[in-house]
Point group: C2
Chain length 352, copies 2
């Protein structure tokens, strides 16, 4: 009889969904999280509202948390860092440190749900002056302000009269090695543009973009209302530099549609930073011997027809640790990883 | 003891993935398909290669088929049309007709995987002359030619020297009620543009688009190679009319970037038709009392955090029957539906 427990590494939306799902099917999940709290990035980065449905993020994550806490099918290990792993499908031995103490965890399969990190716009795109200008912030900073219910210019605490979003910061960019599109930033920016109008109804809001990637229902659910109801101005253009002039920021670049240079004054500039693999994703990939792609995300095998299997039998990966993913992608992939991991340990037992 | 079998309606990629997954977990799937063959749209419409990985579609579908045929956990019902349903979670009674004979099927839960249909470009967008001009085809027609290994102008059987793709045919279009983006057409067109260059290396290939929605890895996996390796010309512009002049088609419209009218001669025009709910999707939604959205797709409840539950407890929906979906979406959602449907029937039994 092989071990039929399934380890899930990462307590964000993907891991929470997987843990609950495993318990619902009558198997045992061991949910391992390095922080002292569950909730992953939406919790850690203080997201205000989910994209696209604008549901209160804290409420949503609380509900997911509640479904695993005190769930007899879920063993919860917080404050736990994984330091090593050995074994194979049906018989993994994972070593870690929990609250300073060494622990060893045994399981039949592993689901990596280690997520992503936000691109640091100060790292290589100093042209935007993120670390120089108080009023140049990111969509992550903006979420925090929305959640606090106080959306203002950091420089003076006043409501901005003009706000510009700049898309593709850290994405679609060969210079920094991130050729991929981060998938969610167009949607999040448009959602935030609507929230800006809720907080500052008189503000003029602009989104400078290359392509608006409002795929599927995001088109009609966010993009159209943003334009028509909230009068957000979408400008196909590249911002190349942000400078400060007195109390105002000047966004310089090129308006691609008008085919002319642009130089527009703004009170606040919000950089739509993309997704990169988290440190935890890279570390876990290495510990479990799982192949990473050239960007450092975990590589799944099987192309479009298998979204969660890795090169290591019995080790699955779901959500943003495999690449840019919206919440729906992550939640669906969690289900697929649950189905495949249970199927995998069960098959070993049948053949044993 | 409630019934723990799970009915899956629709034998395309989503249904095949779900059926195999249910069997792998040790539950019993009843896979119902109205056609005499499994495989769904990729089979029915003769897809040549999957997007984005260009895997041979027939091989891929054969592999998925093989995993359910002769699988002791999967009961297969081909040539079966469902005519009615009653009951509830744990106890559904579904009526149908199989090869002319009435059948009744009992199960604890139902997964709808009834997919989509391609937009008919002759229906309301006659401006493109799909039914008038032999050399105006769709991406679906193009797939058939790629699969047959014979990519030519239908009018004369010769290789085209110039090919234009027109994006958003039947999508992002309020006039016809399809405000949503169909999500996959930008990727499929770019994949096909590469295939055109394989068949006709000397052809000039153009893609007329509004936004190129090459989200996530599609950006680096298809979009960049299409431009750089295969020299596909992407033109931000709206095609408004296609007329015939002698042996040639004239695409009329506006080049948005150049801000001028365009009138370009083409040997072949390929319309990137979008996704609409299939007739089966609408019929099954009505039979099972499941809410449709305004476009006729099945509405899932729970926003971004639940991609498969419907308003009817015990009835789940996965893949393109819920809206525009790429293959990865469909495969992941199948996993989520398997996890949730097994969890649902199991919960009833525990509480019974």
């Amino acid at each position: 009889m092989v071990n039929e427990k399934i380890i899930i590494i990462g307590g964000g939306p993907t891991g929470l969904e997987a843990a609950r799902g495993i318990a619902d099917i009558g198997y045992k999940a061991i949910l391992i999280e390095k922080r002292e709290r569950l909730g992953g990035m939406p919790d850690e980065a203080n997201y205000a509202a989910l994209t696209p449905d604008m549901r209160n993020a804290e409420e949503a994550i609380d509900e997911m948390r509640a479904a695993v806490i005190d769930n007899p099918g879920v063993e919860l290990m917080l404050n736990t860092t994984i330091t090593g792993a050995e074994g194979e499908l049906g018989n993994f031995k994972v070593k870690g440190v929990q609250n300073g103490k060494t622990v060893e965890i045994e399981a039949g399969a592993v689901i990596l749900a280690t997520g992503f990190q936000h691109f640091d716009p100060g790292r290589e795109t100093q042209k935007y002056g993120y670390y120089e200008h108080d009023d140049v912030i990111t969509i992550v900073d903006a979420e925090k302000m929305f959640k606090a219910g106080n959306f203002v210019r950091p420089s003076n605490g006043e409501k901005p009269k003009s706000v510009a979003f700049i898309q593709c910061v850290g994405s679609r960019d060969r210079q920094i090695g991130n050729e991929y599109c981060s998938k969610v930033c167009c949607g999040i920016s448009s959602k935030q543009a609507i929230e800006v109008k809720h907080h500052c109804p008189d503000a003029k809001v602009f989104i400078f973009y290359i392509d608006m990637r409002m795929y599927g229902y995001w088109e009609n659910e966010i993009y159209w209302p943003a334009q028509e109801k909230y009068k957000v101005n979408y400008i196909k253009g590249m911002a190349t530099e942000i400078i400060k002039k007195g109390d105002t920021l000047i966004v310089k670049g090129e308006d691609t549609t008008m085919r002319r240079p642009m130089e527009v004054p703004m009170d606040l500039v919000i950089l739509a930073v993309g997704m990169e693999p988290s440190i935890g994703t890279k570390e876990m990939a290495d510990i479990f011997g799982v192949t990473k792609n050239k960007f450092g995300f975990i590589e799944t095998i099987g192309g479009a027809l298998n979204t969660v299997s890795t090169n290591v039998e019995g080790v699955f990966a779901a959500g943003a640790c495999t690449g840019p993913a919206d919440l729906e992608d992550s939640i669906s992939a969690a289900g697929s990883a649950v189905m495949k991991s249970i199927g995998a340990v069960r098959k070993i037992n049948i053949h044993a």
